[in-house]
Symmetry: C2
Amino acid sequence: MTQTPAQYDVIAIGNAIVDVIAREDDAFLATHALTKGAMQLLDAETAEFLYDAMGSAVEISGGSAANTLAGMAAFGKSCAFIGQVRDDQLGQVFAHDIRALGIAFDTPVRTQEPPTARCLIMVTPDAQRTMNTYLGASQFLPALALDKTTIQAAKILYLEGYLWDPEEPRAAMRTAIGYAKEAGRKVAFTLSADFVIARHRADFLALIEEGLIDILFSNEDEIRALTELESLEAAIAAIAPKVPVLVCTCGAEGAIAIVDGVRSETTAAPVAQIVDTTGAGDLFASGFLTGYVDGLSVEDSLKLGAIAAAEVISHYGARPEADLKLLRAQQL
Amino acid sequence: MTQTPAQYDVIAIGNAIVDVIAREDDAFLATHALTKGAMQLLDAETAEFLYDAMGSAVEISGGSAANTLAGMAAFGKSCAFIGQVRDDQLGQVFAHDIRALGIAFDTPVRTQEPPTARCLIMVTPDAQRTMNTYLGASQFLPALALDKTTIQAAKILYLEGYLWDPEEPRAAMRTAIGYAKEAGRKVAFTLSADFVIARHRADFLALIEEGLIDILFSNEDEIRALTELESLEAAIAAIAPKVPVLVCTCGAEGAIAIVDGVRSETTAAPVAQIVDTTGAGDLFASGFLTGYVDGLSVEDSLKLGAIAAAEVISHYGARPEADLKLLRAQQL
């Protein structure tokens, strides 16, 4: 198969979400029966109720895959994003912010209900984030929104597991995988969250068995849930032979990668003060993929992931604030 | 005149604005012919153009008088706000945030164009803020939105000079002053910005001459502009005899108050790192007024202003993040 030169380093399909971030204490989580550290989906009514209950907030563009692209763009990679917003003010905020980072974003805006997605995030004094997502327009990304040429023009197609849950985007992502594979491109996938795996485990395993996933991102809990194995090592051993690249983040313990059967590890990068862990996994992926695209060693790619993750947890919000190119130059 | 007990410590009339904050360098200000440190008004088209040009941003509720109330609420004072939003997402954000602080906000939402106000704020590496305001719905606050009983139920009516510029809110504020004075309440006024003084100097001087202003907030530039005197001391000397309380902030130099002819001063409170000066004057007013309401000495009221101002310039955004009651207990 001949490959045309890639226009983008990565194209991602993900939720187009604005984060609504407030500091809350553990009592707030208890009152509203929220599980610390988890992500849950809300319907419109519950989202409104919870928003009314939560404190004064800050709005910052988010979305898992979009955050990963924000990191890669900050590292200087060329990126494109596909995701669904509505023609409302939060949709304008999301579109503005992603384009301001130099990321191509051309998904046609939706002109009907529901509104643009938002994620109500409570950050507790221990810097943990508890996410409550109203998917709104984001779940209505149609396969029609995909441009085959654009998807085939990226070295890597990056997919967000969160978006496997709603039906329309799932179909769109299946289509996109076909386009990417047809052009000989790599497909990267992040498992995103336990509840997604609980609902779509068979699908994910089928994708992996069929050899459609080239780079799989996971955390400890997710790979255990995927394999239904208690032991992290057993879970890694079960999946690693089936994907060319497996990355498993382990929070403060660092991260592990198994590439073509060879294991590499990194410790977490130092952080003066952990403020808000939102986006840690997303930014880890941005650093690792940047290293992958740049042909760095697996160990250095892991380190770059740790550097990006450390930056994003040192402040509120899931988009990088510091100059990631400079941090790479200083710390790698 | 008999006074009924006050339900609120302060009721403020101000712009209902969401701030859109991005880091930009001096070259950005130069390219777009923006005057560093100033506030300018934008029409809808220019606001859209400038938003397109500016980088990825963060949205935080703002508005000068609303910021002052946010500070007073954080100090534990009871507050009410009057300001105009539209029934759009930014309007929901503003209303949510101010109510989440425990501030009463019952101004009927406007159901027609234009949209809720926003202020595009560029923060340069020197921590200076350059503000570009699209007033939108905010300038259509009608006198009808005022509830006489509510205004008369507050010890202090606080008015934002910015809102003297558009016609409808100016008429509303004149009405509100009448209500407050009729009930024997105090009227506080902040001059807000040079351009407002340039346009409404005669009005402001008339209010002062008529004895309608009990507490006047100003900064060095504003009191010079108001009096058309070069010397700060001469400007203060010209205005002080005409208002019971005159407060003049002098940036890093601290602040001066002249109360019934007696002069008090404070130095600025120490800040580890000045990040964003947005809201410094607004929060100074919140600290001073809190001291005034609590019957503190003028010197302590000035100190409380300096404490609140120091907190708000230590992070992005013009609303306090730290526990101001705790800072008061520790630092006063």
